[in-house]
Symmetry: C2
Subunit: 345 residues, 2 copies
C-alpha cells in the first residue's frame, strides 16, 4: 500500500510534511506500507536527507506547481495540473497510491478529489467529517464545510457515511447519531432540519434525535450531522473561542499578583489540557463520499499532525472504508429511494 | 414611566424578580420611574414585604395564570390570557407601562408582544439581539433565535435595528456592522448570506463585511447579523463550551497535585473572569422590531440580571429606541424599497 502525501501543502511546508512521513513509517511496522512524497524534488530530497528512513518505503514524485490559498478551488485541476495536490490525487486515481493526505486548501482537495476520483455511486454530495475532542468522549461532526446549501436527504447520507467512518476508525459498533438543532423536539429548527429529523428517525439506525448546541460536548451522540455552513461555523467558532478564553484567562490571571504565583504550579495541568485539545492528535478529516481515501489535515499541520493523518489514511484503506460507505449508501438507496423521491418532490 | 415586570417568569420566580425590581428602583433616582410587578398578588406581596421600597414606585397587578416552558408559544395570548406574561405585555399595549421585562419563555414573550404590540411599520420579522462579552470589547449578535428561516432583506433589517440599539444603549455613534459567514470574501457562504453581503454593502452604513466565526471575539465589528438558527446555535454553543472547558480544566487540574495547590491562588482571577462572563451583567436581550419595548432576560435570571434588564428597558424608553428604529426602517424603505423588490423577485 502506498499513500500519496501532498508534501508542499500546509503552512509549514516540506520541513514538517517530510518529517511527518518519516515518523509515520517508523510507527507502522508493515514494510508493505509506503509514502509517496509529491512536490518539488530538490526541496523534498533536501528535507529527506535530514532523516534516517527506509528508502524502499519513501518515494518522491516531482510536481512543479503549488496551489495557493487564494486560488479558485473549483478549477484547480485545469489551472494547476502539475501541482503537488493535483498530482497526489492523480496517483490515487491511477492506482499507484491507495490514499491521499493534504494539509493544503480544503476546497482544492475536495474539488480535485471529486473531479479525479468521483463520488461513490448514489452519493449526491461529499462531506467533510471532523473529530471534536471533549471531556466526555468527543464526537464526529459532519459536514464541516463542503456543502453550504443542503437538502434533508443529504443530511441522511452524511449520517450513513460518518457512521461507517466512526465504526471503522473509532471502533464504535453502533454509533449514536444526532442532528444539530435549536431544540430537542422534532418540530424545532428550520425547514431542512425539521424534514431531516423525520427522515433520520425512520431511515437511520440509532438516531438519538436533535442535539442542542449547548449539549454538543455532553456526549449524547457519537456522530452529529449538520449542513456545512453551520458545521464550519461550529468548527471555526470552537477554535476562536478556545483561544480567546485562554488569552482572556491568562490576561486576568496576570492582573492579580497572587494568581500569577499559581502559573508554574498549573503547568502540568495546562500541558495535559493542551494535549487533549490538540488538533494534531485528531489525525485529519476525511472527505466522505468520494470513491477513494482523501484526508485533509489542518493548514497549520505539524509533523505530528501529518503523521496522524497518514495513519488515518492507512487505516481507512486497511479497514476498507470506501466499500463500507458504498454498501451503506446502496442499502439505504434500495430501501428508501422511493420514499425519498416522494419526500423531496 | 412605568416598566411592567413578569414577576412569575424565570426559574427562580418572585423571590429574585421582586428583589431585582427593588434594587433597580434603588439605583434609578428618578422618582417618576416605577415598576409594575405582574403575577400572583399574594406571592408578590409576601416577597415585597421582605424589602424596603418606595410604595409609590412599586405596584402589584394580579394575574392568575402561569406560562410554562412546554406551552405552545404561538397561541399563548389565547391559551393564557390572564398569565403574568400576557398581562404584563398588555399593560404596555394600554399605555399603562412603557416597557416589559420577562425572564419567562422567549417564544411566548415574542408571540404575545407581536400579537399585542405589533411590529414597527415596514419590519417583516422581529429579531432577538444579544450581547456577547469579550476581552476585546464584545459585540451584539442579532438574530439569536426569533427567525429560523430568513431572507437576505431580513438580515438588512436586523442590521438597521441592532445598529439603533447599539447607538442608544452602548453609546456607539457609528457601529461597525458585520455578517456571520464562513469566509471573508463576498462570494462565500450560502445563498442567503451571499445575497445579504451584496445588500449590506450598498444599503447599510459602516458594513465591514463577513466575520468568520473564528474571529467573532476579535473585535472587528460591534453588531453582527445572522439568521436565528445560526445565532441560537452560537449562543447556546458558547454557554455549553465555556461550561465544558471550565469543567474540563478543573478536572485536569485535580489530576495533578501540584496544580491543585494553585487553586486558592487563582481565586481572585477566577472571580474576575466569572464576572466578566456573567450573563447577569448584560441586562437582557431586546426583541427588536416590535412597536414597544420588550426585553427578555435569561431563564436563570438572578435579582441582578432582572435589575439590569429593567435598566435596559428604562434606557430604551428614555432614549426613544422605538422611534429610532422606526426612522431607520422608514429611511431605508424609502431609499431601497424598489431595489429590494427587484432583488427578491
Amino acid at each position: 500500500m502506498r499513500i500519496a502525501l501532498d508534501a508542499m501543502g500546509g503552512d509549514h511546508g516540506p520541513e514538517q510534511t517530510v518529517k511527518g512521513a518519516v515518523e509515520f513509517l517508523r510507527e507502522v511496522a508493515d514494510r508493505d506500507v509506503g509514502v509517496i512524497l509529491v512536490g518539488d524534488r530538490a526541496a523534498l530530497e533536501t528535507e529527506a536527507a535530514r532523516h534516517n528512513y527506509d528508502s524502499d518505503r519513501l518515494e518522491i514524485k516531482h510536481a512543479s506547481q503549488l496551489v495557493s490559498l487564494d486560488e479558485r478551488p473549483s478549477r484547480i485541476v485545469k489551472t494547476k495540473p502539475d501541482s503537488s495536490l493535483v498530482r497526489a490525487v492523480q496517483l490515487v486515481k491511477e492506482g499507484t497510491a491507495q490514499g491521499i493526505v493534504s494539509a493544503g486548501s480544503t476546497g482544492a482537495l475536495l474539488s480535485a478529489s471529486l473531479f479525479l476520483l468521483d463520488r461513490i455511486p448514489g452519493v449526491r454530495r461529499p462531506a467533510i467529517c471532523t473529530w471534536f475532542p471533549s471531556a466526555k468522549g468527543g464526537f464526529l461532526l459532519c459536514d464541516v464545510g463542503a456543502n453550504v446549501n443542503v437538502r434533508a436527504t443529504d443530511l441522511v447520507q452524511f449520517a450513513i457515511m460518518a457512521r461507517a467512518y466512526c465504526q471503522h476508525q473509532l471502533n464504535h459498533p453502533n454509533p449514536r447519531i444526532g442532528l444539530v438543532n435549536i431544540g430537542t423536539e422534532a418540530s424545532k429548527g428550520n425547514e431542512v432540519t425539521v424534514k431531516a429529523y423525520q427522515l433520520l428517525s425512520v431511515q437511520v439506525d440509532n438516531f438519538v434525535g436533535n442535539i442542542e448546541a449547548r449539549d454538543l460536548f455532553e456526549g449524547h451522540a457519537d456522530v452529529v450531522v449538520c449542513d456545512g455552513f453551520v458545521g464550519n461555523i461550529l468548527l471555526k467558532f470552537t477554535e476562536g473561542l478556545v483561544q480567546h478564553l485562554y488569552g482572556w484567562a491568562r490576561q486576568t490571571v496576570r492582573r492579580h499578583w497572587t494568581s500569577q504565583l499559581a502559573l508554574p504550579l498549573l503547568r502540568p495541568a495546562l500541558v495535559d489540557l493542551t494535549q487533549q485539545l490538540d488538533y494534531a492528535e485528531t489525525g485529519g478529516s476525511p472527505l466522505l463520499g468520494l470513491n477513494g481515501v482523501s484526508i485533509v489535515s489542518h493548514g497549520l499541520s505539524s509533523a505530528k499532525a501529518i503523521k496522524n493523518a497518514l495513519k488515518t489514511a492507512h487505516r481507512c484503506v486497511t479497514e476498507e472504508l470506501i466499500s463500507s460507505i458504498t454498501k451503506g449508501i446502496t442499502d439505504h438507496h434500495n430501501r428508501f429511494e422511493e420514499h425519498n423521491a416522494v419526500k423531496e418532490s
